[in-house]
């Protein structure tokens, strides 16, 4: 049965964690499950990304709406083979298509949560002063904190559900846990760098609205973190 036939019902079933639905997707008897997950990720992340950038105008809103789902797809594209190989090596018995389905399902759940929170995020953005107003640095930090918290919350919820699925479907629960941790570390490592390259998402006070910063490939996320730690600790 095509999941697009009843998208709201299938999205809700995904959030509830209905094992029957996911079993059908993983075993491949439900056609269209991968495009359905891609559609959910696109819709959810686009709508939430729009609200992130909206504080700096519609141009920035469209930029972030484009970039947010792209980060997820690019991460999975770059890590696809690695995820499959790690899951097979760690004894979970999950191959390339199944690992891709699992990860897309996890990100789809995260995107559904973010999409559901986007009206609230939109309302919060409408209640923030324009950039350049008094106290802009404080509002910028508050905006950053709000969206980081919401994305972290959605990510944790979705990945805890993904861990539950992987442990159920793997050849053994421990192999499932190891596979999930390997995917998480790999995707976080690559995803952080892709996010760094595709910045900005929040326009810092004094900077201009741009799609990408000048020389986006100059430096990496981990070098920036190391420099920040050195600056804070005076090391």
């Amino acid at each position: 049965m095509n999941p697009f036939a009843n998208p709201l019902k299938n999205a809700a079933a995904l959030c509830r964690g209905e094992k029957q639905l996911l079993t059908a997707w993983i075993e491949g008897s439900h056609r269209g499950s991968i495009p359905f997950c891609i559609a959910l990720i696109t819709l959810g992340c686009c709508s939430y990304g729009f609200t992130i950038g909206l504080r700096h105008g519609s141009e920035m809103a469209f930029y972030v709406a484009l970039k947010l789902p792209f980060i997820i797809f690019l991460t999975l594209f770059l890590n696809g083979m690695l995820n499959a190989m790690l899951s097979l090596t760690l004894g979970s018995g999950i191959g390339f298509r199944k690992s891709l389905q699992f990860l897309l399902t996890g990100f789809a759940i995260m995107s559904i949560i973010l999409g559901a929170l986007s009206p609230i995020s939109f309302f919060a953005t409408l209640n923030m002063p324009e950039p350049g107003a008094l106290g802009d640095a404080t509002w910028h930090s508050a905006n950053l904190l709000l969206h980081t918290s919401l994305i972290a919350y959605a990510g944790i919820l979705a990945h805890s559900r993904l861990l539950h699925y992987v442990r159920d479907f793997a050849d053994s629960p421990s192999a499932g846990t190891h596979t999930f941790l390997a995917w998480l570390i790999g995707n976080l490592f690559v995803g952080a760098q892709i996010s760094w390259i595709l910045r900005p998402y929040f326009v810092s006070p004094g900077l201009e609205v741009e799609f990408l910063r000048v020389d986006p490939f100059d430096g990496n996320f981990y070098e920036a973190v190391f420099r920040a730690i050195r600056n804070v600790t005076n090391f």
């Binding site: 709201l8 809700a12 959030c15 509830r16 964690g17 559904i112 949560i113 999409g115 559901a116 929170l117 986007s118 009206p119 609230i120 939109f122 309302f123 919060a124 409408l126 209640n127 923030m128 002063p129 508050a142 919350y153 919820l157 559900r161």
Partner: protein, 248 residues
């Protein structure tokens, strides 16, 4: 022998997929007295879960939702008029209009997250049922606020401090909203929600949205030159602290 007879005659409620605590499900039964406005008001106060049962069975779901919205609109309008008596002038019509519109808008923007978060908690209900639950929350809160209206009127006509009255109204709203949120919580249990942690997060979000809405649509108490002030944007806590400082 006795246990066998008990197990043969016991008929569990039809929609429950888990076994929530019995006292939380008390009242989850067919709606008695018909789907009329007076009966809905009566049942909203006495047996609100029977309204949820009616919504889930999809009997008159649309009619019930519309009647709940009507109850919410009328009750918040009445409350708003009482609030407006502090300043009179334009606030007699502006305060109820802002309160009704603000609450309905808050409900609309929080509805998608309510549906998703209740799904995450294991609730297997239709979107129309969850919408009805939200309408019941707002309607019950409104009815209880109408109950507080004489108290508000007393302080409204005898106080000169807008800050004090504002603080009182916020406290009353929080009390009434808690009753409404408890109804949604019990509804979730009756419909099979197993994990209430996500719903607790949603409750916090809903309360924050409604509290921010009071600042977005200011002034609701007291008079200012402009009817609404969308240009100057403030977080509700910083706005309240400014008002307290000005009062000193």
């Amino acid at each position: 022998m006795t246990k066998e007879i008990q197990s043969d005659t016991y008929t569990p409620p039809p929609v429950l997929s888990n076994s929530p605590k019995h006292d939380l499900n008390k009242g989850y039964e067919p709606l008695e007295g018909g789907c009329t406005l007076p009966n809905l008001i009566n049942k909203l106060l006495k047996k609100p879960l029977s309204i949820i049962h009616e919504l889930e069975m999809k009997k008159n779901a649309g009619k019930i939702t519309c009647l709940l919205l009507l109850i919410a609109t009328v009750s918040f309008s009445v409350f708003g008029v009482i609030v407006g008596t502090f300043s009179w002038d334009n606030q007699i019509w502006a305060a109820p209009l802002k309160i009704v519109c603000g609450l309905l808008f808050s409900g609309v923007i929080c509805l998608p997250s309510l549906y998703i978060f209740t799904c995450m908690g294991g609730l297997d209900a239709k979107f129309s049922t969850v919408s009805g639950m939200l309408c019941a929350l707002i309607a019950l809160s409104g009815l209880l606020l109408v109950g507080f209206a004489p108290v508000v009127w007393l302080f409204s006509v005898s106080s000169t401090s807008a800050t004090f009255l504002g603080f009182l109204l916020i406290v009353l709203w929080l009390i009434c909203a808690c009753f409404g949120l408890s109804l949604v919580f019990r509804s979730g249990h009756a419909l099979g929600m197993t994990n209430t942690g996500h719903f607790a997060v949603w409750c916090l979000i809903f309360l924050l949205v409604t509290l921010q809405m009071t600042t977005t649509l200011r002034p609701i108490i007291g008079s200012e030159e402009k009817l609404v002030n969308f240009e100057e944007k403030k977080f509700f806590l910083s706005y309240w602290s400014e008002q307290v400082m000005q009062e000193r």
